[in-house]
Structures are given as C-alpha cells and as structure tokens.
Assembly symmetry: C2
C-alpha cells in the first residue's frame, strides 16, 4: 500500500454539505416509546396530546363551602341569609370535588357566621365562583408538547396530569466508535515506549451522549486490513453512525478511506482545517461514516464539526446554536493561509471587556482542551488576528461561570492552582484562569487591562529588590496594590542522586553539562541572568542557554526525562517529580492587583482565601514555600 | 388534630438562611470513587493530579527522520551532508518514539535527497527540533482538575491520558420523596372524582437529577399519622434529604410540620411567597427535611427555592447563577403586598426588545410551567408591575431558543399549535410562543411592538368584512401585512346527541338554557354580539352571557362537563372533545404581521410553512377548516 502524502484540501463545509445532501433522505430519525417517568431530556418524536382533562372534575379552588349560586341571589348586607349546612352548603377544602348540584364555592373568610342554622352570607355569589372547571388546566386532546421538544421535569408533570403514561420519543442515534492502531492501548494497560493510551474513544462517547446519542466503543483494532474491514462491517449492521479513529496522520497507512471507497462512497478526504486535517467523510451501507484523526485535539474538533450535526440530524434536530461572545485577543495569533484554524483560548471578563488569551496550539495537547474556555476561528483566507482585535469566541463553558472567573496573566506558580481550588471549594463557580507567560508579560497585560491581576517575581538587579521598581517603570501613574503570595525557594533541579554532582552555578559552565532555560521575561530567567552576571559567567558558557521552557514543571520534566542535566526552577517543581535539587536562594512571588479591582467580590474572596490558615497550610505542604508574608500588602 | 388556619408569614430567605446556618456543618458532601469512563458530569470531590506524564516518551512531532543534532552541525547549502539510514537517521512517523540516542527530527520535506547513502541534508538541526518531550502535554503530579469541577468529555480524555483510571467525585445526594394524601393516586390508576394523580413526585425526582442528586420516590402514603411517621423515619435512615409532598393547603391536616417538631427541629412553617405558602423547613435526625405543598406550581417553585440549594450544598457547590434578562412586561401585573410573588411569563424578542407576557397564575395550572419561558419576581413590598415596565426575568429556557421564538399575541386557534410544530419539525428550535388574549388585545400588542404577529378574526358589523377596518382604526399609519391563515366554521357547541335540541340562536333565549360566553375583545364574542343584534336579541335574554372563557377549548370543556348547555366556538374544538355542533357560519382567521418583520428569517420560514401542502393537509385533518385562501396576502 503506498504512502499517501497529499490529501485533498477542500473547504470542510462543502464536504459536509455534500454528505448531508446525499445521505439525509436515507438517514431519518426513528422513534421509540418510553415511560413518561423515564423520559427526562428525551426528544419528542411526535406531537403529544392530552389523554384526559385536568382537573378531571369540577374542584374547589378555596377552602370553604360549596353552594348553589341561585340560593344566594338577592342577599345583601342588609338582608343576609342562612344556608343550611349539608343541604344548601357543604364544606369543601381546596381541591375537593364540588358536589353534584352545587355550582359555586364561598371562601371561609366570606362566611359572616357559622352556627347551628348553617352559614350566614351577606353577599350574593356568582355561578362558578372559586370553582376550577373540568379542563381548566389541561383539555383532553390539547397539544401538550410539540415535536422535537426536549422533555423537562415540568413537562413530565403535565403529561402525567393529562393521563399520558407513555411518550413517543426519538430513538437515540447509535454511534459505533472504533479505535484503531497498532500502538493504541486501553487505559488500564501498562504502557511501553511508543504506546498511546486510547482516551479518544471515551471523549467521543461522552460527546455523543451530550448530543443525545448512544455510543458503543468497539475493541481496539490493530492496523490489519482484514480485521478493520471485519470490525467496520460488524458496526454497520447494528449502528446508525460509524466512527473510525484512525492512526494519527499521513505517515500512517490510512485504511479508513480505502474501506469507505470499497464498501460505500467517500465524499471527502482531508479538510482545510487546523488542527484536524486527515478527516474522511463517507457512507458504508447507507450509514454516515467518519474517519477521525487520532490526535486528541483533532479528534475533539472534528467530532464537533462533522459528527455532531449527524447525531442531531438523526434526532430531527438542527445543531444547537453555539453561544458566542465578542472578546479582545490578548496576543497576536498567526495562522497559515488556506486552512481554517481553531485556536483554544482562555476567556475572562476584565472590567467591561471580555478577554481571550490563546493557549498552546499543538494538536496533541489534551490539556489545552481542559483549560480552554472557548474557541477562536481564524478564517481560511486570513493570516490571523492582531493583538487587541475584537473577535467572536465560541464558548466551551457557560457565561455565568466565566463571569465569576478571575484572569491571572503572568508567572507560573504551583500555588495558583491551590488558590483556585480553595476558591472553588468555597462554592464559587469561577476560580482562576491563569495564563503562564512570564512576569513581565503579566505586567504588560495589566497595562492593557486584560487581566485582574498578575503573578510576578522580578528581581531588580540594581537594588536586589523585588517587583516594585518594575511596576513603577511599566505602569507609571497606575495604582497597583502589591500583595505577597509566597516566598519560594529557587533551586538547581537535578536528576535523582545528582549523578553529575552539580553544586554551584559555576558547575553549569563545565563542558558537556546540558542546561534547560526559562523563556525571556520570566522571573526565573531574570534571576538566572542576574546570578550569571554576579558570578562573572557569560551565557555563551552555558550549553542549552537557548533551550527555553515556559513553566517550572516543564524544566523539571526536561531533567526527569534525561533531555537536560540541570535547570533552574522552584523547589516544589523538583519535589513534584521526585527529583533532587540544590538550593540557590529565596525569592518573593507577589500578586500585582490594580486598585480598581480590589472592591470586586471575586477579588475580595481571593484575598480572604490567601489570608486563611487553610490555604497557607496547603501551600506549606507543597514544600519549598514560606508563608511569613503571605497576604501582606506592600506600600 | 385541630385545623391550622394561620401560618407564619416569614420572609423565606430568613428561614432558609437559618436552616443553612443550623445544619450546614452537620450536612457535608460525601465522596465516592468512580471509573473515569463513567464519570461524565460528575463533580470532583478533590483536586485531581496526573499519575503519569504525557507523552510518556519523547515522541516525533512530524513524519520524518530521527537524528542526532550534533551530526548536522556545520551543514549548509554549500556543504550538504549525507546521514546514514538506520545508523544516523531512523525513519519515524508522527507520534513514534524518538529512538534512544537520537535528539531531533527532520521533516520529510527538509530532506534534499533520499538515496542509498541515506538522507541528504542542507541545513543544521537544533537539538529537540520537532520532538515532543516527555510531559509536553501533562506532567506527572500536575493538577488536572480542581475540586468542585463538573467533568466534561475533554476532562475524561486528559485523565485517561495522565493514567488516572478512577476519580474521587461527590456522591450524589440521596433525596427521598414521599407523596402523601388520601386523594393521591399513582399515574397508572384509573381516576375517580376527587382523585389527584401524583405527578409531583416525578417532577421533583427529575429536578433533583438535573441538580446532580439521586432521587428515590417512596410509595404514596395516606393521611394517617402512624404510617406517615413510619415512612418518614424509614427515609431518614437511608436518605440525605427528606421531601414530603403534603396535602395542598391549610384546609388539610398538616402532619409534616408536626412530624418535624416531634423528631427534629422545625425552622419555618409558612413562607411569604406566592404561589407556595404552606412550606415547612426543618430537620429530622440531622437530615434537611422539607414539607412541600401539593399544588404543581407551588411544588415546582418551592423545590427551586429550598430544595435546590441543599442538593447543591451536599455537593459542595453553591446554587448555579440564574440566567436573567431584562424584559418589558406586556400587561399590568397585580400582586398582593406581603408576599413575594413568582409570575410565569412567555418571553420573546421583538425587534431589539425582550417582551415578557404573564401567563395564568393559578398554583394548580401545570401547563403554565410547560408554557413558561421565565419567571418574574414581584418583591414582597411591591404591588406589581406597570405595563411597559422593564423588569428582570429568570429564564427557564436557553436564550438561544428564545431568540428563535416568534411571539404571537391574539386570538386562539388550534392551527397555531400545528404551525408551531411544523416549524419545529423543520429543525428550528424556536417555534411560536402564543398568548391567547383575544383579537383586539392582539392588535394592541402590535401597536406596543410586543408581538411579531397577531391572530385575529374581527367582523366589522357595519360592513360584514373581516379584520381590515380594525387594523386601520387601531394601527393608523402602521404598515401591516394581512395574511389568511384559515377559514373556520363557527358552531354552537352542544353535548353529544344535542339533548336540548338547540338549532338556532333564538333557542339560546329559551328559559333555563345555560350559555357559556367568550371574553370581551375576542373575535368570537364580537361575532356573537353581531349575531344577537342581527336576530334582535338582547344579552339580558341569554342566561350565562356573563360567564366568560378565554379559549374555544375552555368553552367546549364547559359543555362537555355539563356546567353549560351550549357555547359558541370553532368546529374543531367541538370535534376535539367529541361533542356535537350546529353550524352557525364561516369566518376568516388572519395573521396580521407588521411589514418591518416580513424580512426576518423566522417569519419567512413561517410563511413558507403556511404555504406548504403538508401544513394545509394537517389543518384540514383537524376538521372545520378551509384552506382555500391559506397563505394569501390581502391588499
């Protein structure tokens, strides 16, 4: 089988439209009948009408007495009248049937006197006074629910009240999911080098469930044409929609498109979106069939674009309207011409503006989906967005949650996660959305009013002081509160046992010692440069000075994986990965908060959490932190 | 047991706050461990950290060749170099491990020549080029999910990728629901006069499910203290929260509050809200216990106010933020001082404004919950809202759906339901929200720009013409398109077999014949008055002229239930209830649509549906309709 290097590069909308046009008539929604009591969130497959009226008898709407209205005609304050109890007046409670022959109810409060002779009235009563007639609420034969309605709790109540016990709903579309690939392993397997865990099947099955379908995950099938063919044809027998999670890219033999061509029709192979290129759209035995790429972000995205409309189609629904909002892009987004690119972003409301901060764009970066609050689309014939441009963002979280989220842009510190968790533990929905771009970039975000606060640890080499001089320099005239979050220990992170016996900064200049650095503008980089200068070392002497990582953990990972011998970072990062470390010094990590936000309830909650004993105890438990000034404001 | 007439009338927030204060410490969330693959939508009960890094090996990020970077140092376009295949260069596909000793990948496209000697390169490669280092995506020990996070599909993906197979989540709070009352019957029972079907238990169970709890419905228990006591104490053994659906009002012996007093603490009995007064809040054996009123609307509302916060509390969450929007009230809302009243409303967007139209306010009217799009709160010390006032509405449906909804205010006709269903069948989410207030009130709604269109059938007694003269009189200077929806047959609706042998309008003036009328301003009322006048009859001659119903179906119900002998209405209403009828005449039912809305996509869809054969066939199937001018515009 030859290697397929170039895929067609069609606009994906065309491919999907072609598929819909060819298949929609053959793929129609099916109905099934379910008990109303287990019909919550099902989609009605027909108009639902009432089987009986409610109330089904004339009922009293008040506590009082059922009477005949004509017995009260002529009564007035000057001519009150007694109605005989049990004959002319019968006591009823709210909801009781109005006895045969009676046609009105007087309230307890309207009875002037209650005595042996009966009840004394001083005003006439009109017929049907305080009586709920049959069918006041629901009339037999009345339409209770339209077709294509998602059944809610109150709908179930109305159905039961109207004597409807069973309801015709859309059968959930059955979606078969086939994970394929020699290197794919089930989650419980112990992984060898080169193995990939199958997380995509679960993600797809859960998405299908959210869209109203019913997913079945097939066993992982290796890249053998006969076994794949067998599995796909088996799926086609019982499933409404077939999804084959393919090997990840062009480099892999792509059987799915061949299989679709052999047993059905291939409508599209390869699409002009990024991430997600090697998609196959077609049908096998009349079932919509999708070859989905195996990179997690591509899987998620292509499922939304191609699979979701079909799961809706088979319920008779159109795909739900995506909630979008307009947000300011916090940094320039580059994108290549010719592909529509989907960029994951963090979203937060700062002042009156929504801000979108782009996340890591690799197709394999699962965590970018976990962290993302929304998605930006860069159109096919556009090269990206400018910083500060206002663009529509498709939301992945409810607006109400985003409104409660604090945006932190700046340096990375592990205690920010602890802080966010503590805030959520207090029952808030929002927590903290943090973008790790380094201290200096964090300060610039405050200047652009794109963050509520910035985490910074910038040493002024001239004074040996932290943070304050940078705020004065980069945010002149702006009132900024500076609060300590923690003191933290910076260390040389080395492998377990410190095999190269690295003790000082000078040791890093030894030939062959591979260093891993932090990115420019990060506090740790500033510190490193300061320390080099103090020791009289030049960056040319450090092998790996140019290799930049963006977080403490990434530096620790480089050491743990053996791709570097040493890096500079915080002690807690070394401890998190079970590495050894050499103390370098202590530094101050502060939060810079513009004064205008200090009165916001979310900020107040955050400050209260930082000043709480519970938070500080959890921080100390991480190791490498000191909380002696935690929660203290400077200046 | 004595009748309890006056309940305490506290502000409900105080009662709930007291209950929270007293019980919150004893009622804390519990955790359980579940498989990640079945954890969708569960709430994390702790911080979740990665068990392993991802990728767990250094992987190629491209299709190409793994090499040693140092083998390429010094290469240039003028000095290209061959790397020996299998020794200095090993072919890798995207995702493959980078072989031991290699530290970079060159892309296929960067290889100048592929031959027997190996691959020819013309540029040096930096270390870690196109290599995804261990932990690029997820670092072992890293926080994947915070506490109190609702697990989404992409979160499951990240957990599995990070080797997390089981996850600690909040145990779903167990809510026991006890329906009580001698008159309460299960849905499958055949009902006698006075029986009430238990629909509340299902509504509550579904609400609890939506809030993240797990509900169990106990068998219906009659009003016997020993049996109630027995059931409640049994529930307290296994459930976290106890809900007793009580008899409906003060008129009923209220055992629940006594039971709470006997076995625990009663915090509040009776609350200042409407509908929903007789609520009891307390605890039994430390379990939050609620006595909830039995009227469907009260049940729903009090569950939201009191039960929902506790179901959240036991998951460590605060109650979700209610989505609200500002809307103009379409008619005056009266409310009594001293109670906070909750008014159900229909909501639609007309032009740039949201409009809220109040629905029937009875506590027993289940359908008002089905029809409602939102809820207005009238504060305790306010007497209501003025027409045209802008007020916040708490939404019961997603905004995206409401934005697609057409607002129809005017006369009632059964074909409007058919029309709405056909629109939904085309996959739209919105359909038609119709408020039945009569033709004239519909025209006035157009004047106030509170509806997209009005359904009207107003006969001009002077000319015998329909609708046009009314539009000219009440909407002078406004451009209104008038389109026929149907011609319909107006009939005298009489019981099956027409026992009183009513044939003409004159027959209604016979002594003892009980008529049921439509409300003033309705087209049918205008028609009736016109016919009376033509026959030389006066309204004083008609017994029941003052008894007004608001819909055709309500008139038919009055006849079907025997509370009236005859009414005037449309033939299809008589047919819907299996009644007999006497032809009176045909009338024209039109839609009046301001021209400014004609270009709206939703209106265009509606017109296309009205003009479709499928719609017209369904209308004819109802009986009593003629579609000869359906979809035709007049003038």
């Amino acid at each position: 089988m030859e290697r397929q290097i170039y895929l067609e590069n069609k606009a994906w909308q065309e491919g999907l439209a072609l598929m819909m046009e060819k298949l929609a008539e053959r793929c129609v929604p099916k109905n099934e009948v379910v008990d109303v009591r287990s019909s919550l969130h099902r989609i009605t497959g027909t108009i639902i009408r009432a089987h009986r009226s409610s109330p089904h008898f004339a009922a009293s709407a008040m506590d009082g007495y059922a009477i005949r209205a004509k017995d009260t005609f002529g009564i007035s304050e000057r001519e009150p009248r007694w109605l005989e109890l049990g004959v002319q007046a019968i006591q009823v409670d709210t909801g009781d049937p109005v006895p045969e022959g009676m046609d009105a109810v007087v309230m307890l409060e309207e009875v002037l006197e209650l005595g042996e002779r009966g009840i004394l009235l001083q005003a006439p009563v009109v017929p049907w006074n305080h009586v709920r007639p049959v069918g006041e609420d629901i009339v037999e034969g009345e339409v209770l629910l339209p077709i294509h309605h998602r059944i809610r709790p109150q709908d179930q109540g109305a159905l039961l009240a109207a004597g409807v016990l069973e309801v015709e709903v859309r059968r959930k579309p059955r979606v078969g999911i086939l994970p394929t690939g020699d290197e794919i392993r089930p989650p419980e397997a112990s992984l060898q080098v080169g193995d990939i865990v199958d997380s995509n099947s679960t993600v797809l099955a859960s998405l299908v469930e959210e869209w109203g379908g019913y997913a079945t995950i097939w066993p992982i099938t290796p890249d053998q044409p006969e076994r794949l063919e067998d599995a796909i044809l088996k799926m086609a027998e019982s499933q409404d929609i077939l999804v084959i999670i393919a090997g990840s890219s062009q480099g892999r033999d792509d059987y799915t498109s061949h299989m679709i061509e052999k047993h059905g029709t291939l409508y599209l192979h390869g699409v002009a979106i990024k991430p997600g290129k090697p998609v196959a759209l077609g049908e096998i035995h009349g079932k919509p069939t999708f070859g989905i790429p195996g990179y997690p972000v591509s899987t998620y995205l292509t499922a939304h674009l191609f699979l979701e409309p079909w799961v809706y189609q088979l319920q008779g629904l159109s795909k739900g309207v995506q909630t979008t909002l307009d947000a300011v892009v916090s940094k320039k987004v580059f994108s290549s011409l010719g592909s529509e690119e989907f960029v994951r972003v963090k979203v937060g409301k700062v002042g009156d503006r929504w801000v979108a901060a782009p996340l890591n764009r690799g197709a394999g970066v699962t965590m970018s989906l976990v962290r993302a609050d929304g998605m930006l689309r860069v159109p096919r014939l556009q090269e990206g967005f400018h910083e500060g441009e206002t663009v529509p963002v498709e939301l992945l979280r409810p607006v109400s949650e985003l409104e409660e989220t604090l945006v932190c842009i700046g340096s990375h510190d592990l205690t920010l996660d602890v802080l966010s968790s503590h805030m959520k533990a207090r029952g808030g929905q929002g927590g903290i959305a943090s973008a790790h771009v380094g201290s200096l970039a964090g300060i610039l975000s405050l200047r652009k009013r794109e963050a509520h606060f910035a985490g910074i640890h910038l040493l002024d080499p001239d004074t040996g002081e932290y943070n304050l001089s940078y705020l004065q320099r980069f945010l002149p005239g702006r009132e900024i509160a500076l609060m300590n979050l923690v003191y933290r220990t910076q260390v040389l992170i080395v492998p377990k046992g410190n095999p190269l016996d690295l003790k000082t900064l000078e040791d890093l200049a030894q030939p062959g010692i591979r260093f891993v650095n932090r990115q420019g503008g990060s506090g740790t980089r500033v510190l490193f440069d300061y320390l080099l200068q103090k020791q009289g070392l030049s960056k040319e002497q450090i092998l790996g000075y140019e290799r930049e990582e963006f977080t403490h953990l990434a530096v620790a990972v480089a050491v743990a994986s053996g791709s570097a011998d040493v890096g500079l970072g915080i002690q807690s990062a070394a401890e998190a990965l079970g590495l050894d470390y050499v103390l370098v010094g202590e530094e101050r990590y502060d939060l810079a908060i513009p004064r205008e936000y200090l009165e916001e309830p979310r900020i107040k909650t955050m400050i209260a959490v930082i000043q709480s004993k519970e938070f500080q105890e959890d921080v100390l438990a991480l190791g490498g932190y000191d909380v002696r000034e935690t929660g203290v404001f400077y200046g």
